[in-house]
């Protein structure tokens, strides 16, 4: 027993500083396993983010649908506030009759009959002004992310000292073990080579500044938030005002200032538009001196709005501003005050099909990009401002006669500022190329219409898909 204890002690002493250099492939395997573990973890993380994103987008979509459906019920009753000479030769181009939205059909009927009575005594009428509440706010929030720089250099320097000590220590053991080749030890030359390679690899990794160029295509959805003055809104038949899907794209250039932060600019083409469809309210309103075509009243989309017909053309209050038409769109009808003695009936343009306004922008952005995750799969947070120059301004009527360009919107300012917020997912394909998917929200900070009666701010959801090339 005593001898056993003695032997145990001798064994323990011998193994006190016993160490053997493991073969190099062990570390490589460990690294690979750690990377795949991290990837798995990240995929789970991304799964959660995607789920959250779907919920958020569903919420926003729901909110938008809800918002536009509440507007459909806005009814229009004509009420003249301004005397307009019926003779087209003398009429002023800017006069557009004001009309009043009433809150319910019942009230509408009452108002109508009352108006009829009054008309017998006097041609002058009072203006009933209803409140128009169409304010909405979207606040783009730009998160400034913290910069985090790890100082590994000190660690590295210290480690070198340690390594020398370790090697000296090892030399002792190795001298003792020199006679045994049961465990292979790499020759010194190989060791030096490996160390050099590791060092070179590290120095390559440390190069943080870089130029990155990218090209994107962005299918998107555009809509708007708007509000109008009462006078303007009274002549605007705002019905089923929907967003429109479209495609944009462009090229970008980024400068990476450090491991996580980069500044970005570029040139993008984008389109903002909205369409206006079926106006149900038209046919329930008794004040139009117009017998609707029953075919038109069926399920097919149709459009009706008050217009002002002048010598210069037809003007119409629309969502984004006053649309100036060069002439009558094919397939549309104008219903003027044909049989009425008074001026209390609005001139209305009716057409089947859809009316839409489209604005084309060239945007020059300044974005900041922050890397939340920097691996083979990366996640960026990006945000910033863009100057959007209007390069296209068109209004269309789409009916049996095709998609006709009927004119353009007045008072649109040529340069506008918009804010952008986005989340970038990218995947490295190699040393230089990477694939990117970036959902972005773009919101105009100013009304793109300079008319003080109109506050029209378009916004866009774009799904930017493209490639990046890192130099």
């Amino acid at each position: 027993m005593k001898d056993d204890l003695h032997m145990d002690n001798m064994f323990r002493e011998k193994f006190e500083d016993f160490s053997v250099e493991p073969p190099a492939h062990v570390w490589n395997n460990i690294q690979e396993q750690m990377v795949s573990r991290r990837r798995k973890k990240r995929m789970a993380y991304i799964g959660w983010i995607s789920a959250a994103a779907v919920v958020v987008f569903a919420f926003i979509a729901g909110w938008m649908l809800n918002d536009s459906s509440s507007r459909i019920t806005e009814t229009v009753v004509e009420q003249q506030t301004q005397q307009v000479k019926p003779t087209p030769e003398t009429s002023e181009p800017e006069t557009v009759q004001a009309i009043e939205p009433a809150s319910s059909d019942k009230q509408l009927q009452q108002t109508a009959s009352k108006l009829n009575e009054e008309r017998a005594f006097s041609a002058n009428e009072n203006a009933f002004v209803a409140e128009v509440k169409t304010t909405r706010e979207v606040q783009p929030a730009i998160t400034t992310a913290d910069r985090q720089i790890g100082n590994y250099e000190l660690l590295e320097a210290r480690n070198e000292i340690q390594f020398v000590i370790k090697q000296n220590g090892l030399a002792e053991i190795r001298r003792e073990e020199a006679t045994f080749d049961k465990v292979e030890i790499l020759p010194e030359s190989d060791r030096v080579l490996i160390a050099e390679n590791v060092q070179r690899l590290n120095s390559k990794k440390e190069k943080n500044n870089a130029w990155i160029v990218g090209a994107h295509v962005s299918p998107g959805y555009s809509a708007h938030s708007s509000s109008y003055s009462n006078d303007y809104a009274q002549n605007m038949n705002e019905v089923q005002n929907g967003g429109v899907s479209n495609v944009g794209g462009g090229i970008s250039i980024q400068y990476k200032t450090n491991k996580r932060l980069s500044i970005e600019s570029g040139v993008y083409y984008a389109q903002n538009s909205q369409s206006t469809g079926t106006s149900n309210s038209l046919f329930s309103a008794p004040m139009y001196d117009y017998a609707p075509d029953m075919n038109l009243a069926a399920d097919a989309p149709s459009y009706a709005n008050n217009v002002s017909v002048t010598r210069d053309g037809i003007a119409m209050n629309s969502t984004a501003g006053v649309v100036k038409m060069k002439g009558m769109p094919a397939g549309a009808e104008i219903n003027a005050k044909t049989e009425s003695l008074s001026d209390s009936y609005a001139t209305t343009m009716v057409s089947d099909g859809e009316f839409s306004q489209v604005f084309d922008f060239i945007e020059i952005p300044v974005y900041l990009r922050y890397k939340l995750l920097d691996h083979k799969f990366g996640i960026d947070l990006m945000g910033g401002l863009s100057a959007g120059m209007i390069v296209g301004n068109n209004a269309y009527m789409e009916n049996d006669y095709g998609r006709q360009n009927i004119g353009s919107t007045e008072d649109i300012s040529s340069v506008n500022i918009s804010g952008t917020l986005g989340l970038g997912f990218n995947y490295d394909l190699g040393r230089h190329f990477s694939l990117a998917m970036e959902p972005r929200v773009n919101y105009f900070l100013n009304s793109i219409n300079t008319n003080p009666d109109i506050d029209y701010k378009p916004y866009r959801f774009g799904w930017f898909t493209g490639v990046y090339y890192t130099f």
Binding site: M10, F11, M34, G150, L155
Partner: protein, 203 residues
């Protein structure tokens, strides 16, 4: 050589404090998932831990597997290390646990070993003194899995038979007899391999 053993020891002592501080820093970085720090930690401890793994395995391949698995456990669990007690001890315990887990899983495959026959032979100190740790490792690797495990846990981890029986799911009696048997086998092997050398030296 200018660098004598004492000079090396002095240098070691002088840098001990620095190393401990460094180690703390490296451990912190590892906990954050810093790959570079993980590599440093590996470089620092892998040789020693490989030594431990070799002792618990039948061959180099098994030892490498265990070392790899052990380090993965170290890296994923390092954020739970509380800087109380020795880090090396903590790591070593993880390596031993990897071997123990494997042993438990494969236990059913191992045949019941005979528990009799104490030979009670002794090996002289001279012989033992001349055998290196590496040679002893080779001999330990030749033991059956259960003998090897009991011997290692008892002699090198300083566990009692009670503890060993719990870790290995065996009775204390089995642990005791396995240890004795392991010693016998080792001694016989030492005598067979190095006995001749002993005779020459003493003659």
């Amino acid at each position: 050589m200018l660098f004598t053993k004492s000079v090396i020891i002095d240098t070691l002592a002088a840098h001990l404090q620095l190393i401990l501080e460094d180690l703390k820093q490296i451990i912190k970085e590892c906990a954050k998932g810093n790959t570079r720090a993980q590599e440093q930690l590996y470089k620092l401890f892998a040789p020693k831990m490989y030594g431990v793994c070799l002792r618990y395995s039948k061959d180099k391949t098994e030892a490498e597997d265990n070392l790899q698995e052990g380090f993965i456990k170290v890296f994923t669990g390092i954020k739970n290390f509380r800087h109380e007690g020795s880090f090396e001890g903590w790591m070593r315990r993880i390596m031993v646990n990897v071997s123990l887990e494997k042993f438990r899983k494969q236990q059913l495959m191992y045949p019941v070993e005979d528990m009799a026959m104490y030979e009670g032979n002794q090996v002289s100190d001279d012989i033992l003194a001349n055998i290196s740790a590496q040679e002893i490792t080779g001999l330990i690797q030749e033991l059956t899995p259960r003998y090897r495990m009991v011997f290692n846990l008892y002699v090198f981890e300083g566990m009692s038979h009670e503890e060993i029986s719990k870790e290995m799911n065996i009775s204390t009696g089995t642990s005791k007899s396995n240890l004795a048997r392991a010693r016998d086998v080792l001694k016989n092997r030492v005598r067979a391999l190095y006995g001749g050398l002993d005779k020459n030296n003493t003659a």
